[in-house]
């Protein structure tokens, strides 16, 4: 048979103000199994606790209900007291007639009735309590500190100085938190760096503290004494064991501004149909496109008589060779022209032999005749005048080549007749 004790606390005025503690105690006494029911001004005080322990001892109580404040507040206190007199701590429970009753119900009658109900309910439950023994669990003697601002650093150092290992996890690449941003701190106007950085160095040098910088807590398992914390160490892309912090990398980093990823225009954006067909046909003939750039450009020039911008842009997109490389090659070699050329290409040889035999005179004469400078094309698009360094017919100097056919031993006088072969009419015959 259970021998219950009910002890009602006044809590000064906090409970007594709305609950008639004596009435409640009287009622508790009438409950089956209850052998003693008393109220007292401060049950949690030392004399109050003595009342409970004496009752346990004198009446061999098997269970106790203390009706006072929230169990979250003083359950440990009363349970400890009960154990001192041999009653198992879990045979004692608390009915919350303060926060759940007197403090929230001002109607004295209702509050008192509710107190009685709460006690009655709890007594019935406690009658069926059984003594329970504490469970022992192992404790991992390490501490984790999450966040390495001044608070985290200080906590880690304190724990480490007590000789226990610390796992310090900091989300940012460096510890120090916002304090490292400050210049001076109030009220002493101490330089923030001077009082913080030594602590940061202590963290680094302490063999007890394992620092996980640039890392975040991913998952926490387990419970008090046996936490298993999974940490995600974000990639620095720098191997910390090898890096000496010499600074060569950040002093020579190439990305000085934000990167704007280039927008890839569509293959045929702004390219005429005709150009695409012709360039595609040329590309078919080449297996190693990147290596045969000059061959491809020569074929394009044979096709269009010059290198149109459209063709180079399309070639660049199709073959994935950068346009700048194609343009660079086109501007480097004399054979290529980026501007439309005339139907007939006149090339005056200025090799050494031709130079000695009056090559420059011939060039000037032709330029004078056609009214254009070297490298230009006549308005009617018929003739383009170019200078070339040696066509390999030096024995027959001076030499002029037009559309592949070479004219040897050219003199100023012969120029009009040579040009005439290509449809050149002199506007006015000079007298």
């Amino acid at each position: 048979m259970s021998r219950m004790g009910v002890f009602v606390c006044w809590c000064g005025a906090n409970i007594a103000e709305n609950v008639d503690c004596d009435e409640v105690a009287r009622y508790a006494g009438t409950l089956p199994g209850v052998v003693i029911a008393r109220s007292y001004k401060y049950m949690c005080s030392d004399p109050g606790q003595k009342i409970v322990t004496d009752a346990i001892e004198d009446l061999n109580l098997t269970g106790v209900v203390v009706a006072s404040c929230s169990p979250r507040m003083h359950e440990p206190t009363f349970r400890k007291a009960a154990t001192t007199v041999g009653l198992n701590a879990y045979m004692l429970e608390m009915a919350n007639i303060r926060e759940h009753c007197s403090w929230v119900h001002n109607n004295r009658h209702e509050a008192t009735e509710k107190a009685k109900d709460l006690i009655r309910i709890l007594v019935e439950k406690v009658k069926r309590n059984v003594p329970l023994k504490e469970i022992e669990v192992p404790v991992t003697q390490r501490v984790m500190v999450i966040g390495a601002g001044i608070a985290g650093i200080q906590a880690a150092l304190d724990v480490a100085s007590a000789g226990y290992e610390v796992a310090l996890v900091e989300r940012k690449p460096s510890i120090g938190g916002y304090m490292s941003l400050l210049d001076e701190t109030f009220p002493t106007l101490d330089c923030s760096q001077c009082i913080l950085t030594p602590r940061m160095v202590d963290v680094m040098q302490s063999d007890k503290i394992t620092l996980h910088s640039f890392s975040e807590v991913e998952q926490v398992d387990g419970y008090i004494g046996n936490f298993k914390v999974k940490i995600r160490k974000k990639p620095r892309s720098v191997d910390m064991t090898k890096c000496t912090g010499c600074g060569d990398c950040w002093n020579n980093c190439m990305a000085r501004n934000k990167i704007t990823e280039p927008v890839r225009p569509a293959l045929d954006d702004g390219i005429s149909e005709d150009v695409m067909i012709k360039v595609d046909a040329i590309l078919e003939r080449y297996t190693d496109q990147a290596g045969m750039v000059i061959g491809i450009l020569q074929d394009i020039q044979d096709e269009f008589n010059y290198l149109p911008e459209e063709a180079l842009t399309y070639l660049s997109r199709k073959s994935d060779i950068p346009l700048s490389r194609l343009y660079g090659v086109a501007r480097f070699y004399n054979a290529f022209s980026l501007t439309p050329r005339g139907k007939h290409i006149i090339r005056v040889c200025l090799g050494t032999a031709c130079h000695l035999k009056g090559g420059p005179r011939i060039a000037e004469a032709i330029a004078h005749e056609l009214g254009i400078e070297s490298g230009e094309t006549t308005e009617d698009g018929l003739f383009t005048l170019e200078r070339v360094n040696c066509l390999g017919c030096c024995a027959l100097a001076p030499v002029v080549e037009v559309n592949g056919t070479v004219h040897a031993g050219v003199t100023v006088g012969k120029i009009p007749s040579i040009l005439a072969q290509y449809g050149y009419e002199r506007e006015c015959i000079q007298v």
Partner: protein
């Protein structure tokens, strides 16, 4: 600056509803404590039973409460995601909401069974919650069905 809660006078003769509330120890019970500390008065009809987690509440407790004369049963736990035991409140939510659907078969009006999430910091929410459900149960009137069956006759 704790103002005293205003002194409500209730007429003892009027029918007083009986509400049973199963509160999870870590959140709702602490929320009720906070309501007390902040002196946020609410009707006394409610009787709080502490359970380790809302997941511990067995549907049988609810039926037994109605059988024992409860006019409304409330189960309150931590906000989903905040449960001290990680997933206790998820099991409670699924199990008890499914159970509420069956209550009509037991002859209990589902509106007499409430589930709520009150965190340890929401004293005010707890107090208002109790006021609401008390008014609601007054509107619903006493729960007679089970007591009639037990006593074999249909009383007023």
């Amino acid at each position: 600056m704790i103002q005293k809660a205003k002194n409500e006078t209730t007429d003892p003769s009027e029918w007083q509803p009986r509400i049973v509330a199963f509160l999870c120890n870590w959140c709702s019970y602490a929320g009720a404590d906070l309501a007390g500390m902040s002196r946020l008065a609410y009707p006394a009809a409610i009787k709080i039973v502490r359970v380790p987690c809302s997941g511990r509440v067995d549907p049988m407790f609810v039926i037994k409460s109605f059988e024992q004369g409860a006019d409304l049963v409330l189960v309150s736990g931590c906000h989903p995601g905040d449960c001290h035991y990680t997933s206790g409140n998820y099991h409670a939510r699924r199990k008890l909401l499914a159970f509420r659907e069956l209550m009509t078969f037991f002859g209990i009006d589902p509106r007499r069974f409430k589930i709520s999430w009150v965190s340890a910091a929401e004293g005010a929410k707890w107090s208002n919650l109790v006021k609401e459900i008390t008014d609601e149960v007054k509107a619903l009137g006493p729960f007679e069905t089970y007591s009639e069956i037990l006593t074999g006759e249909t009383g007023p």
